[in-house]
């Protein structure tokens, strides 16, 4: 797939998602300007990125020369003006509407009139984010999945004012990166989270209702449907606090009762049971081993 895009900027490049998107772009041959607001996290990401490509070499997926060529495509900066030459800038900053709108306003001030702005939001409206930009026709939703460097899926959403040409250019770029785009309307959660967040809440409510315990529910889902992971295992992985934040993002917009945060989830977060990262959620973890709670 051909694309006119040569240089890509990533805002929030020190974050997990931003760093992953930068890897996707660089290994596909694009120059990448990694922007974040602080030096130290960016420096940490450099080491993680180098480690990622070193593993690729060790696994025989790329040569040392290829690794060096890819790493040479990265530029890191805390100066937003360095994004001026980018053809496409993807933001992966904190999931907050005002933060994203303000960033887009800043980007519009420093970038060329034809620069495309992609938003990696998973919950917010592309149209509302674009309202912070004097050129809303240049803003498009590009939701990568975590970890972006491993997951092929990109949910692509045009806002109400996104131009067809911008959407197509962004779409073609994702194809040029070897990603698999799907098109969704600009609706809360797009496809993935619109289906997943209420489903995960339903699993928590099944525990609340005494239908079965976490292990029983996860086993039923895995054996019955062939899923690799049950919903409670998945919530433990993404973090119970993250699930709360997703509920708080979706419910006020959708008023869907299934999107409302289950009381059990709030109580567990209040108790510090955040999932794998705290050592206990719906299951208890000892290192990487998982035991039924």
């Amino acid at each position: 797939m051909s694309t006119a895009i040569k240089t890509v900027g990533v805002c929030g490049a020190a974050g997990t998602m931003g760093a992953g998107i930068a890897i996707v772009a660089a290994r596909s041959g694009f120059n990448v300007v990694c922007y974040d607001t602080a030096e130290a996290p960016l420096a940490k990401t450099v080491k993680q990125t180098e480690g990622f490509f070193q593993k690729s070499v060790e696994r025989g997926k790329m040569t040392e020369a290829d690794r060096d060529a890819v790493l040479a495509r990265f530029e890191r900066t805390t100066d937003i003006v360095r994004l001026a030459a980018c053809d496409l800038v993807i933001e992966a900053v904190f999931e907050n509407l005002e933060v994203k709108r303000n960033l887009l306003a800043q980007l519009a001030a420093v970038c060329r009139p034809d620069t495309i702005f992609g938003s990696n939001t998973s919950t917010l409206s592309i149209t509302e984010i674009a309202s912070g930009c004097p050129h809303p026709e240049r803003v498009v939703g590009m939701h990568f999945c975590l970890p972006a460097q491993l997951m092929k899926l990109v949910e692509m959403s045009p806002g109400i004012l996104t131009s067809d040409a911008v959407f197509k250019a962004a779409w073609d770029w994702t194809l040029a990166c070897g990603q698999i785009p799907v098109q969704t309307q600009d609706k809360p959660g797009f496809i993935l989270n619109a289906l997943l967040v209420p489903f995960n809440n339903d699993a928590i409510r099944a525990i609340e209702a005494g239908v079965a315990d976490a292990k029983g529910i996860d086993t039923a889902i895995k054996v019955g449907l062939g899923y690799k992971m049950g919903p409670l295992e998945l919530i433990d992985l993404i973090g119970l606090d993250t699930q709360v934040r997703l509920c708080e993002a979706f419910y006020p917009i959708t008023l869907d009762p299934r999107a409302a945060c289950p009381p059990l989830l709030r109580r567990m977060v209040a108790a510090g049971l955040l999932g794998r990262k705290s050592g206990r959620g719906f299951y208890t973890y000892d290192g990487n081993a998982m035991f039924g709670a």
Binding site: C145, M151, K152, L153, E155, I180, V182, Q183, T184, Q185, K187, F190, I191, L192, A194, L195, L196, P198, F199, D202, A203, A206, A209, G210, V211, A212, G216, I217, T219, A220, I221, V223, G224, L225, G226, Y227, K228, M229, P231, P257, R258
Partner: protein, 209 residues
């Protein structure tokens, strides 16, 4: 653990030719009695009395406060519509069910190679309770033009590692079957999430799969 099957008509859990059916012994020799398509007969001499459930609750067959029900359990082998039955058996217990009866029931199914999960006697058990609202949402999203069926399925497969997407699964299982299950749940729970979506209602009314 020996089991005896009393059967009327076809069973969703064990369709004709299923090897589990061949394991039945004479009723008097059995430790566990299974009723497929028939109401269960209370028998406290058995370690467990099992009744196959579809969309109904076990409490529709037995009085959950009755002492004669302490060894009665419901079960359903999960099956997506007309797909082949899975290896999963949902075992339904009542508040009065004794642990020994649960153990006996699990022993019968696990010896036959099934994975057993125990759940309370609530409509939809685990899987239909969780899956039908998701399929309803996916079908409504399709109606609303959120994305194409293919893109929704691709998203779930690539983004979540599912072996199939919600639209292809619910369609393959049969929209009429989905309608029947979700309508039964809706009648019990009364919440919008279980209301049959347009595509399922239409399939049921025209007599499609």
């Amino acid at each position: 653990m020996r089991y005896a099957i009393q059967k009327k008509g076809d069973s969703r859990s064990f369709p004709p030719g299923d090897i589990f059916l061949a394991g039945t012994v004479a009723a008097d020799d059995a430790d566990v009695a299974l009723y497929l398509g028939l109401p269960p007969v209370a028998d406290l001499r058995k370690k467990a009395v099992l009744v196959e459930l579809t969309t109904e609750c076990l409490a529709e067959h037995v009085d959950e406060a009755d002492a004669a029900s302490t060894n009665v359990l419901g079960f359903a082998r999960y099956r997506n519509g007309e797909d082949a039955p899975s290896k999963l058996v949902e075992l339904v217990r009542l508040p009065v069910t004794e642990a020994a009866a649960v153990d006996a029931a699990k022993a019968v199914f696990e010896a036959a190679g099934f994975t057993v999960v125990v759940c309370a006697d609530q409509p939809g058990r685990i899987l239909d309770r969780l899956l039908r609202p998701k399929y309803n949402a996916a079908l409504r999203f399709l109606d609303e033009g959120l994305a194409t069926a293919q893109d929704m399925d691709t998203t779930c497969k690539l983004g979540l590692g599912y072996p199939d997407g919600p639209i292809e699964r619910v369609t393959r299982g049969g929209l009429r079957h989905h309608h029947d299950v979700t309508r039964a749940l809706f009648e019990t729970y009364g919440t919008a999430a279980y209301a049959p979506p347009r595509l399922a209602v239409a399939a049921a009314k025209r007599g499609a799969r």
